[in-house]
Subunit: 523 residues, 2 copies
């Protein structure tokens, strides 16, 4: 069995101690081992701070964009190999694997273009210069410059390729060196990706390091110029954000956590219309793509009470066609969840939702024999639709995410009631409203905005072009308030700003112009 | 003795239990009492969320700007009364008091103008719409809308008027109701200000509440749509930010903490030049204004080694003219620190700096009899200049702020060495460089930017117009990384964005235009 090494201080190294075992979640066959015990994370941080940081800061945004372009090419060149690893180690169907791997290359490419558009700049101007006195002698100018520390990225198991790439793209473009830590259970893809990126020769020494396995004391060693970006369970994000050294140093921490994303079917939408079909397709896609293991997936489906039966019927009909099993077997359309722990949590979660007032109308928590999987093996969950008839009940439906192919149908009476129900999620990455009524679109979109990082307005006009709310695009903000972690990633330069310090320069106007000559105006 | 009431749920109320006593720090005479024990903060939060929030969100930015204008007028109309309270309860000289009270009215006025400039908008557009596909059908548009919670403001003892006003201006302009809590020891000014603001009749019910005394369980009751903004000691900021409910709900917390702000005298500056004089004036002003109790005050003074004796001589000469005493007595130019605890901390801090390698060259930790103060009474500290000859020593000089009229002179060899020494502060609100050499200005300003929220470039060209680095302006960012708390206030709309949720809207382009019609493009 192969051992997955970490890449620290310019070398591939392996830890001592008892390793973790990575398996194929369709079959439970072991695939590889990884350990980081005894590795020197202090040295890795210093390597990033003293080699990677200065090298990246010496480059212009344009040069860092070119670096990202090389990385995108390196990923794309080995696409098939990465897809194969994702299918074996992640339980991804080939379509799921493309979503992850192509998303990685695409996001690197988008930030490469953004870098190119910023050209020779090494600093960014945040807004225009402002006069501070009656004369123009005294001026102010806000600038953005790279933080002088390390960006530590702790990624989730569900998107090993994209998670690594989207975070690295933003930090590297800003001029910060990266230490990336994929979730160990599905680290094969991230490990191979870092091999490819390192072998590309495009990266300055110390610009990218990889931790394959436990993070040891890495996080405990971060300080005021460092950044921690985490994607994963809210409870882990809370634990990380509460670390004393991070609180003491005001270390910038970005958290993207699972949330109870909502879909609202407008009262105007008729069964069988284009907009109805978009709604059904989105809910089904979000439940089954990646076996429902997307932080952006729809979990709460709000439907006008009169349409609840029809919605249930059409969703159940489509979901019943899903073939659950070994992703390498013919005809399988949905794989397993990624780990044994996820399987346990999913089953317990379905039971918890049911106990809180919802009832299972399709699927459920029972064991599933996957098509093409060894008898009794593999972490399979049936697509599971629940229904909460009394929308005043079911606190858990709004508060407990089941990270699996699970969603709950909930009726509503009026549009304001639907808006209030969306807010009960306590903060989401994304919510969507399906309507062709402009007034409903505006009422829901603006009404739920304060609880959401992104709001999709889905109407018949976008049929054919629509990718669903679960697709995260580099141009748009990814992150949300409250339960979703309160973070902001992507959205073009918005996510890059996590790695930049905003500073107001104050002084004689022409002198400030001299100091900031070559900086690029943004925002 | 008068009792200072809190203003909660539209009524002036007082707590039970043993009250805190507010004193005159020049004489130690009791002035008033305050207690919040038993007050219902849960009801106050609900009042803000259900009355103040909806009322403010129903207003346009322009209407909220007009509200701020009324508040500015209310403060200005009672300026003399507020100055008198600040002198008696804060130990402020009349000049110090003006700095606080006029700063309050000025900041309210600046945000009133900003609101007027945003006119009829209720939402802001963050950047332009972007196309998301090959056609223009699918578009994205980032919007900023008010969070649906409460802004809780915990302010420092040193700027009771300005602290209240600058935070309230930003939150109210954003459309969030405020519960403001001044430091109890110097709450007379804030208490009177809220009386004036309430009596102005300009505030919607629930838009502004006041806690005079302990905060009880107020902070423990905050959730995902609320905001906490704190100014004060870093240790308190850390404690607040680490509260489990805030971590769990990803509540947005902004911290402005004391920091070790630096001044760097450029190697080109000759003794007696205009720039030299600006440097000496700034250090002396920052040490003595507000008795050195400004979070932006210069604490570390970096001087070319060859100029160290001259700088010490000129600073000591100016500081020796300072007359410390009862601010109501004739000829007094510097008052006491504000509390007995501050006095203890200041004396202990001077001794700590001295023990870390610096030596006292003026003033010191000994007791001071204030001019015009009762024998042995009042919290007086002598202006105290230290000198650290060996700049490789003195960790405490870079890490321990003495919040009093205290600064340390430190020699440097080369400009890169000066830049590295500035970074040793671990993050500051503001640093300044005094130079007429453009290359030095650029090297220091951009070199220290990542450790500073603001950098002042002070040259002969600004003589006459210059206010010093300690003056915080509404147009420029206030806040800094690391030790300074990692927060961002002011800077025009930058500080307002703490109270706004950024949301990406995604859908059919013309429909998004309809939804955001009337919103104002910013950033």
């Amino acid at each position: 069995m192969s051992t997955l090494e970490s890449f620290l201080c310019g070398r591939w190294v392996s830890g001592a101690g008892r390793p973790a075992t990575l398996v194929n979640p369709s079959t439970e066959e072991p695939l590889a081992e990884a350990s980081t015990e005894g590795l020197d994370f202090g040295a890795a941080l210093e390597h990033a701070r003293h080699r990677g940081g200065p090298a990246l800061r010496a480059m212009t945004f344009g040069e860092r964009g070119a670096l990202l372009k090389s990385l995108a090419s390196a990923v794309h060149a080995k696409r098939d190999e990465l897809l194969d690893l994702a299918m074996r180690n992640g339980g991804n169907t080939r379509g799921d694997a493309k979503f992850d791997v192509d998303g990685a290359a695409g996001t690197l490419g988008a930030y490469a273009e953004l870098g190119a558009s910023l050209g020779d700049a090494r600093a960014l101007l945040d807004g225009d210069a402002v006069n501070l006195g009656r004369s123009s002698r005294l001026a102010g100018q806000h600038v953005l410059t790279p933080r002088h520390g390390v960006a530590v990225h702790v990624n989730a198991f569900n998107f090993p390729a994209w998670g690594l790439a989207e975070k690295a793209a933003q930090a590297l473009l800003a001029g910060m060196p990266v230490i990336t830590k994929p979730a160990t259970a599905t680290a094969l893809v991230a490990h191979r990706m870092v091999q490819l990126l390192v072998d590309s020769g495009a990266l300055p020494d110390g610009a990218l390091q990889l931790v394959t396995g436990g993070a040891g004391d890495l996080i405990d060693r971060l300080g005021s110029q460092d950044v921690l970006a985490f994607t994963g369970a809210g409870s882990t994000g809370m634990m990380l954000r509460g670390k004393v050294n991070l609180l003491a140093a005001s270390t910038h921490v970005n958290v993207e956590a699972d949330s109870l994303n909502a879909a609202v079917l407008g009262p105007d939408v008729e069964r069988g219309s284009d907009t109805w079909d978009l709604f059904v397709a989105d809910v089904v896609r979000d439940m089954t793509q990646k076996t429902g293991q997307k932080c952006t997936a729809i979990r709460r489906v709000f439907v006008p009470a009169a349409m609840l039966d029809a919605a249930q019927e059409d969703l159940a009909d489509r979901l019943s066609a899903c073939r659950v099993g070994n992703v390498l077997a013919d005809g399988v359309t949905m794989g397993p969840v990624s780990t044994a722990a996820q399987l346990r949590d999913a089953r317990a979660g379905i039971e918890r939702l049911a106990a809180s007032g919802a009832r299972v109308v399709l699927g459920g928590a029972a064991a599933v024999q996957g098509v093409g999987a060894p008898e009794g093996k593999g972490y399979f969950v049936a697509p599971t639709l629940l229904r909460l008839d009394d929308n005043t009940r079911g606190d858990d439906v709004h508060e407990h995410e089941v990270f699996a192919p699970v969603a709950t149908l909930i009726p509503y009476g009026s549009v304001p009631e639907a808006v209030a129900l969306v807010h009960r999620g306590g903060g989401s990455l994304v919510s969507s409203v399906y309507t062709d009524d402009r007034a409903v679109a505006a009422e829901v979109a603006l009404g739920v905005a304060s609880s959401n990082g992104r709001v999709c307005v889905v109407s018949a006009k976008v049929a054919g072009a629509w990718l669903g709310p679960g697709a995260v695009l580099p141009q748009l903000l990814h992150g949300g308030p409250g339960r979703a972690g309160g973070g902001e990633e992507l959205g073009g330069l918005r996510g890059v700003s996590l790695y930049l310090q905003r500073t107001a320069l104050q002084g004689y106007g022409p002198l400030l112009e001299h100091i900031t000559a070559g900086a690029r105006r943004v925002g």
